[in-house]
């Protein structure tokens, strides 16, 4: 273990990538993640790596395809509109089964939106984003230390499953500073990649491609990918449950919002209210188990997001009608105020707020304070 340093989330993510053996970065600037390319542009040349700012997000994601195909550990980062531009390339990476790590420090949308933090890219990250039947493994860190740890893990998981992995932060995770300790990585050994296109001396040529014209073959390819995704579902789910044992009410949140909800939970528990927190760390695969474990005794789940309600759909699927699910959200860069979350929590407990299925019909429940 090294000494703690004080880092912005973006810097910590970049440094973690380098320590995980990442030697290739491609990208195009966009707020609020610019410290990642900036940091990489300083650090990668020091370790013999390649930093390349392409002319667009479309170019950079295709450069990732090339470098990943050649067996490199590759990072690309952007923020919401930039990630949208990359979707075709991400689908190609998933189809060709190429490992890489994609960071999205998301900002308020839709469209050009704003530059303040947002979680409105949850659908895009977890439900496809690009075309075709594919999945990204998606991590949602809530602290800078966790962002650093998950970055390192992301490269290993990407290589293990030959699949793109996304670290989905929001601008707040990227911009805030916290102390970080980097684990000792002097022993890091990168896996062999016999499938990579590294020259065919002494062996048959490798081909990396996502074009499969024969419908039977493409069907088989898709079902094989699904088997892989099922293995990921079995092995890679991560979540945190706080006070699961004695709680009747649950706050559900990831990333920055989980920090706010934790404060609210701590305060409510001081007041004698039995509230717990479910914090998905992998957003895909979604931690259904966390809900199944507590749903028999839960009186309600309040999902809080910086969106109009995206993860709440997965919460409802996991809860499967066995308990009421409620929602509170702010969007566009407005961060939910702990006081507002607390108010919603007590409204849920006192039965004063509609459950989520009614909420959409009545167009209530999520508006600004």
């Amino acid at each position: 273990m090294s000494e703690p340093v004080l880092m912005k989330g973006n810097e910590a993510i970049a440094e973690a990538a380098i320590r995980a053996g990442c030697r290739f970065f491609f990208g195009y600037p966009i707020t609020p993640q610019n410290e990642i390319p900036e940091y990489m542009s300083k650090r990668l040349p020091e370790v013999g790596g390649v930093f390349l700012q392409a002319e667009s997000e479309v170019s950079s994601i295709n450069m990732v395809y090339g470098a990943a195909g050649a067996g490199g550990r590759v990072l690309i980062s952007s923020s919401s509109p930039g990630i949208s531009l990359m979707q075709e390339g991400i689908s190609y990476l998933a189809g060709s089964e190429l490992p890489c790590v994609i960071v999205n420090m998301s900002r308020g949308g839709p469209g050009l939106g704003g530059i303040q933090p947002s979680q409105a890219d949850y659908f895009q990250a977890t439900k496809g984003g690009g075309h075709g039947d594919y999945r990204l493994i998606v991590y949602g860190p809530a602290t800078i230390q966790e962002a650093c740890n998950l970055m390192m893990k992301a490269f290993d998981v990407a290589d293990k499953y030959r699949n793109p992995v996304m670290v989905l932060g929001d601008g707040m995770i990227g911009q805030m500073m916290e102390p970080v300790v980097f684990p000792d990585t002097s022993e890091v050994r990168l896996p062999e990649k016999p499938w990579a296109t590294t020259g065919n001396e002494g062996r048959k040529s490798n081909l990396i491609s996502s074009i499969i014209l024969d419908p039977e073959e493409l069907d088989a390819h898709n079902w094989r990918l699904q088997e892989k995704y099922n293995r990921i579902r079995e092995n890679e789910v991560m979540y945190e449950v706080a006070h699961g044992d004695d709680s009747e009410w649950f706050l559900v949140a990831y990333g920055t919002v989980a920090r706010i909800c934790r404060k609210v939970m701590e305060q409510a528990r001081k007041n004698g209210v039995k509230v717990g927190l479910i914090r998905p760390i992998t957003l895909w695969p979604f931690p259904d188990k966390a809900f199944k474990d507590v749903v028999h005794k839960a009186k309600g789940f309040l999902c809080v997001e910086m969106s109009t309600g995206q993860m709440v759909e997965d919460v409802r699927l996991a809860v499967n009608g066995k308990a009421p699910v409620y929602f509170y959200g702010r969007t566009g860069g407005a961060v939910p105020n702990p006081k507002s979350v607390e108010k919603r929590l007590y409204e849920m407990i006192s039965g004063k707020t509609p459950v989520v299925s009614d909420y959409w019909e009545k167009r209530g429940g999520g508006a600004a304070e």
Binding site: P4, V5, L6, M7, K8, E11, E15, T31, P32, E35, E38, Y39, K42, G114, I115, Q116, P117, G171, M172, Q175, M176, M177, E178, P179, T256, R259, I260, R262, K263, Q267, G333, V335, P336, N337, P338, K339
Partner: protein, 231 residues
Amino acid sequence: MPRVTVFYGLYGSGKSEVAINYAMALLGRGCGVTVVDLDVVTPYFRVRDASESLRKKGIRVLAPADKMQYADLPVLPETVRRVMKTGEGQVVVDVGGDPTGAKVLGGLRDAVPDGSEVFFVVNFRRPFSRTPEEARRSLELVSQSAGIQPTGIVANTHLGYLTEVSHVKDGFRLALELGRKTGLPVRMCAVPSWLRESEAEIFAFTGETPVLWIQRFLLPPWEPPWEDAAW
């Protein structure tokens, strides 16, 4: 005391918090104070994000107004040059981080009166200023980009909520070493205000150098002072 004090340095070295707390200290001495936010490179945690609470305390904040405060555009208030040149009371200037952010000051060089204080803020627990030699290179790049040489160093080594007196002490020693390398005096030692209970221990190593107690103004929404106000 010169009328204008400029703070520059690397990203996240603590310029904005130091500038705000310096302004608060000036206010405490009965000075009229204006804080000028020249940061056009950082999207969050800027002086303008605390402008409401600063205005309530009686500090003027000069920053891009209205919708422009949320933009990542190189926009400055139109009065900035006049305020720096001839404004009333004390003027505290917070410059954006790194050579990139310091460029803005370069464009306003003529508005910085002769004899102004220009402080390089350094946290030795931050990337690219982990050693005095690294910090010296960073200082050179920042001051070249700004086109203005520093007149002193502000030692601001801390580790956020993990900060202990030993970190401050270590950082102060490294700042003195940076001072020897650059011929600059260490003009202030910034210390988190919650370490005040150990002030005897702190004054023992800061000696003649004034200590600036830092109360945090630029915080994520789940941290105090929200907590104090709410519950």
